[in-house]
Amino acid sequence: MKRELWNQDWFGPFAVTVLAIVIVGALKPSFLSPFNIQILLLAISVNALVAFSQMVIIAIGQMNLSVGAIGGLAAISFAGMMEVWGLPWPVAAVLSLGIGLLAGLTNGLLCAYTGISAFVITLATLSVFKGFNLGITEAQPFYDVPEMVKWLGNATVLGPIPWLVLPFAVSAVALWYLLFRLPLGRSVLAVGGNTHAAELSGISVPRIVVFAHSVSGLLAAMAGIMLVARLQLGQPSIGDDWLILSFAAPIIGGAVLTGGRVSVGGTCCGVAIVAIITQVLVLFNIDPFLVQVVLGGLILWAVGVNRIREVRGQRKAAAAGI
């Protein structure tokens, strides 16, 4: 735990984030205007939950292609339950979170007990969940979102800090506490680090896999619900563009795709970096289409850096012989 600051997983991405804020702020003072900060925080809050959803699965060394589909399904369920059934928004939100949890649970059970790769399972369920979404909405949005929800999606608590930061901050702290302080979360990382050893130490691997996928589903659903509040309507296309982002942020944050190593702080910085870059493209009138190019480039850069660090670490260990 008492590693040097610059050796911490989150330090690199954090330094980049600070540097980016300073440089962009100096070049374009409007970047640091309260309004712009609010926009940034809104984007970060939702995207961070998307990234966390994938991060939990990366922690066990798997992947979840259905993050976006779960988020979209929860989003339209949330909006639909309010519009069609007239449910009060807290009830609709809890039920939609339940749907996300259930979707994640399904993924987890299939991955844990069939032995089929998570890639194939979640590709299939991606299609199933997306199909539910389209079947229910017939590709038409739900427009009738209660004022309270609309207000929560855009109002600020204090200065430029929007209400939506709250669920993000709570999940971040909770996830950190889970993964780095509770044995349950340590078991998640242990399974990702060395499945066989975890099993021999009495950890029930299938249960941990199911747990991780359930958490992932829950987080994706939360992101979907928050997006409904922010967009002020239940778009069926919510979640369609989450795939790249969900991997980019954890990887930028130092996560290793083979499992066992993720960083909550790093992932947050990864999300922030992506949000800042997107903003910069807008502020400097650069073609917004290039966002995709930059995102892909960031992933390549980050996996490259992680890889170099890994190789160096091994070499150092071999040389020092400790």
């Binding site: 199933v128 795939l243 892909g296």
Partner: protein, 346 residues
């Protein structure tokens, strides 16, 4: 846990694990391909009973055209799966190649032959880039192609400004509308020809066998004088070209090169791309391939989609059925394999 692992040396020399000997016919009847043929026949009968329209000339023609594209997309993924990797960028590359082809025809005013060759080269090149980055970095193809699908698609949208190319050569569009003997689309024949070529490559080609060896066990292949890195690059280049061909087929069918023809980042191709080879029994861990299986798998998927639409189950639910189909297929395959293993029929 290694429940039934025993020392290989503990197995007596004189008892090779060999079950009953099977004739070629029995062997075929236990194969995945035979199962697919049965399914295709069964579903064809079901759809025809429910709606005789299913076997109408028009319906069969449409089925042929769509399946040609889906099978081609499946081939494009298949040739990467055999190396034990995967290519998330099939859709992105396919669209890039098609857009390049469209640009060459419309903006550069090229003749369709050169435009096609140019588009094919773009597809192959983008695929090769994937391969080179994967081999050089030593990272898994999943994360590399995830990144490159975003980069390639983004670059394409940036360069085209999300505009379609509609001045497509009449030869091209004519090809898409042509009917042979009233029902057969030439596209399907083209797909079958590509399938035969791939089959020859993997069955008789020295390169194909080296690819399979490299996919099944890279370390052993490398120590037997096979350049595994080159094999991976070849496969990705081939995958890019096949994705390009699938893109051209869509262009010739719709008469325009449209940036959104494969959805956001080309993601819409992912499901058919995996469905066909997985249904067809191509091993996801690499080293084993079934071209015929992929062809039948792609056909089955298209037929089911078409049939369900015809039965008016609601176009919006199709995706759910396809997802369930993929799940069912992998679970059935699991059951089949464990049955064969239990009865020592493999």
């Amino acid at each position: 846990m290694s429940g039934i692992e025993i020392d290989s040396a503990a197995v007596p020399e004189a008892a090779p694990k060999q079950g009953r000997q099977l004739g070629p016919l029995q062997r075929f009847m236990l194969s995945n391909e035979f199962g697919l043929i049965v399914l295709i026949v069964v579903f064809a009968v079901v759809f025809w009973t429910v709606s005789p329209m299913f076997l109408s000339k028009f319906s069969l023609y449409a089925l042929g055209r769509t399946s040609a594209v889906n099978i081609m997309i499946g081939f494009s993924m298949m040739v990467v799966i055999v190396t034990g990797g995967l290519n998330l960028a099939v859709g992105a590359i396919g669209v890039c190649a098609a857009m390049a082809c469209g640009w060459l025809m419309q903006a550069a005013g090229m003749n369709w032959v050169f435009a096609t060759l140019g588009g094919l080269a773009v597809g192959g090149l983008l695929g090769a880039v994937n391969g080179v980055v994967i081999v050089r970095s030593g990272l898994h193809s999943f994360v590399i192609t995830l990144a490159t699908m975003s980069i390639m698609f983004g670059m394409m949208i940036f360069l085209t400004q999300a505009e379609s190319y509609r001045e497509i050569s009449p030869v091209f569009t004519g090809f898409g509308r042509m009917k042979l003997w009233g029902v057969v689309p030439p596209m399907l024949l083209m797909t079958i020809v590509v399938g035969v070529l791939l089959w020859v490559l993997f069955t008789f080609g020295s390169l194909g066998r080296q690819i399979l060896a490299a996919g099944a066990n890279p370390a052993a292949a490398e120590l037997s004088g096979i350049n595994v890195g080159n094999m991976v690059i070849w496969c990705h280049a081939l995958s890019g070209m096949l994705a390009g061909i699938a893109g051209f087929m869509l262009v010739s069918r719709t008469g325009a090169a449209i940036p959104s023809m494969a959805g956001q980042l080309g993601q819409d191709w992912l499901l058919p791309a995996f469905l066909a080879p997985v249904l067809g029994g191509t091993l996801l861990t690499g080293g084993r391939v079934s071209v015929l299986g992929t062809l039948l798998g792609g056909f089955l998927v298209t037929m089911l989609t078409g049939g369900l639409l015809l039965m008016q189950v609601g176009a919006f639910w199709i995706q759910t059925y396809l997802g369930l189909l993929l799940l069912l297929a992998v679970l059935l395959d699991l059951a089949r394999r464990s049955y064969l293993a239990r009865n020592k029929l493999v």
